[in-house]
Symmetry: C3
Subunit: 348 residues, 3 copies
Amino acid sequence: MTISLGELAVRFGCELRGDPDALVDSVATLGEAHDRAVAFLADSRHRRALERTRAGAVVLDPDSAAGCPVAALVCPNPRATYARIAAALYPTVRPAPGIHPSAVISPEARVDPTAHVGPLAVVGAHCVIGARAVVGPHCSLAEQARVDEEAWLVARVTLGPGVVVGARTLVHPGAVIGSDGFGFAADAGAWVKVPQVGSVRIGPDVEIGANTTIDRGAIDDTVIEEGVKLDNLIQVGHNVRIGAHTAVAGCTGISGSTVIGRHCMIGGAVSIGGWLTICDGVTVTGTTMVSRSITAPGVYSSGIPLEEARVWRRLVARFKRLSSLHDRLTALERMLGRHDDAEGAHDD
Amino acid sequence: MTISLGELAVRFGCELRGDPDALVDSVATLGEAHDRAVAFLADSRHRRALERTRAGAVVLDPDSAAGCPVAALVCPNPRATYARIAAALYPTVRPAPGIHPSAVISPEARVDPTAHVGPLAVVGAHCVIGARAVVGPHCSLAEQARVDEEAWLVARVTLGPGVVVGARTLVHPGAVIGSDGFGFAADAGAWVKVPQVGSVRIGPDVEIGANTTIDRGAIDDTVIEEGVKLDNLIQVGHNVRIGAHTAVAGCTGISGSTVIGRHCMIGGAVSIGGWLTICDGVTVTGTTMVSRSITAPGVYSSGIPLEEARVWRRLVARFKRLSSLHDRLTALERMLGRHDDAEGAHDD
Amino acid sequence: MTISLGELAVRFGCELRGDPDALVDSVATLGEAHDRAVAFLADSRHRRALERTRAGAVVLDPDSAAGCPVAALVCPNPRATYARIAAALYPTVRPAPGIHPSAVISPEARVDPTAHVGPLAVVGAHCVIGARAVVGPHCSLAEQARVDEEAWLVARVTLGPGVVVGARTLVHPGAVIGSDGFGFAADAGAWVKVPQVGSVRIGPDVEIGANTTIDRGAIDDTVIEEGVKLDNLIQVGHNVRIGAHTAVAGCTGISGSTVIGRHCMIGGAVSIGGWLTICDGVTVTGTTMVSRSITAPGVYSSGIPLEEARVWRRLVARFKRLSSLHDRLTALERMLGRHDDAEGAHDD
């Protein structure tokens, strides 16, 4: 879509420094942009690219505007404003209403006439598909699943029985929502399956990444609140609750019955144990192991950055002998009359 | 389904303390249960919830029974007994026998007349589907796959050529069983693919989680023995063998040719190297890196719990200077005439 | 397929020590091989199995040939030669050209007459399927996707809009290529979606594992260069570039905008941060956290091998008190007049 800089400035609340009649039709990086493309600067690391850019306009904050050699769309939050401008330049094309003839729809399902059901989708008994919702190709919805208005299952999404997907929620291919939780009771050397009779409720404005899995609750439901963003290949165990507007990066696993607060940011490849509570406003950096509850907002970590393997092997060997290091130090302290035996006691 | 407490006690071997004619029809947590619901107590952490429960009955062990304010179903293993009671209250409804008209079945496949093949499933040449087995919507079975009696592929399960799924085994959506193993030979700066000519044999009474992947063997088969339980998003490499009744939690990866014993419990996000042997009865806690074989039953770990990021960064900095700490201590010991040079020698 | 040892030796450049007219028809491990099977020895750990083998022939290097009790196919790179011999003995059977009647093909798509489109596949508008390409059952290709000659999407592969899959590339079931990247801008306590307008370009001779996900670029494309091998359950973020002939093992996550060089080997369950650069020829061992760029070829690690849990808990406790250990040592040094205050200063 082609839009003038003047219109962009008005619609998205920017101060325009440049020609309001100049037209743009695309987005690009600072380095690649031509004169019909909008770029953005959200990080001062890219300031040198700004100086050389040939973009039609750059979205940036007041502090950076002086260094901009082309038209500037100045605003306090360039990344968010860029996101909205890009959405205007690349408007989403929703598939036309209607049910593809190859889809298999239960006669007991209710599909809104403005909804789209794509080729080879399966919609089970008593499912409800809301207004303007999209059920893409190869999606399969078990009985009583519900897809609210304008929700979009891109392709090949599986919903288990009774799963609810909220309004405007976007689910990427391969996601499985509502598979059985991992619940077994040990009995006489084998496992007895604990029936998983809850379901999953996904709030509105959620996004769920490709091949992410969210298990149904054992008794109550698993709950993903409004505005949550889940990346790809995340595992969410049964009866987890994720609070509104929390974002979780890829490859992270969240064990059963854990409650994560609102406005948290969980990095990639994080492992979160079961039956924990993480309060609102917590950031967990990538690869951290969360094995206890977190009761205060803040940033938490336990990942160790890489070293050259030769150096690393020695560090690990030292680490594995920490007890000996400790004992040698204590012996020296004792010899020099410095050791506090009370400390030594709680140390072991 | 509605059942009397008396019948539950008789069928599942509980001592009933309460009215045998009282009826229940559902399960619930201790906190949410109403008077037609069965709850259970398997962990003394929830004893306060027990005191306040309004459940119709609680499944618990003799030690906890005294504190139960409502009817009690007393038994030695409350979790396993609860699982069986829940299965009785929520009986599994198997889909009716027959092949959905939209399924694509090779004329050379053999589907038992009591089996169910769901909408839009694909069953390849020479596949065999056993009695009362269920092949759900969007499943795709390559040639010569075999699904034994009462096995259930929930939806969108992919079986590669020759894969065998044992009796009563349950496979959740998105699982891929029998994809090629990751086998390549380096040659002149590129990779030559090693043909993966084995297959996968899954025993009876196994459960396989959503989006879990199990590779076919390079030469011999990959083998999952009876009663194994695999959670979601697990990767099982080629020629792995997992022993009977072992359970593996989500996001764990098991590299090729590793053999895991029987009755092991492998936590979530564990990484297990290739060509290792883990004996029977091993527990590995979450996020552990298993880089050597384990020859004695027991519990093994290598995960480090989180800290506030500020504290953590300092710990990592200290860790990275462990060698310097060690050297400084050795210097002090030498100065004080305490250093054992033999130890110093093997230390470096 | 049955082939004589003489023909194998000629076709694959081996020195044959044995009867050129002896016939083989299969591959097997040294231990299981019968006299019509070819085995190989690529690792001196298996030399004892060599001594006892009953294989029809063994592929091995000159150093090992003397210990071979049966016919030997001697060559410098036994693993690569074995791979080629196995491919000859088990020739790939490509499905016949043509479009299965149950597939849903856009009238605006272009499918080469020599290509195969399997049952229940969906091919969107303006897609191009090249000569002898295979689009397996349940694959779904969004508009403008392109599958080059002889590429093979095994089953249930999803390609997003505009994704290109190079010639001879093999994609395993469940892979999702071209889902939206994880891009959001924080704004007033919620997330604004950043439109992901790039796509994914996969080079020729690539292999992509089961349930692996590769996100489309935010602005430019995500790029996987020729000959790259990706295992199962890998997450590749938006705008990542992976250099030619690099191999990545399962369960690894690569965050957005990171560039990995050529001929790298990335182990399993590795976590790679965003906006990093890894140069050519780097090996990263399993479970490593890569949080900074790597500028020199070599081997890098940060995984800590397991210990018995009891030992491990004590090590973690010691580790968590490293600062105290350090302070105690510094105090001793000060007392003995050994402390270098400059070091102490940069230490904190």
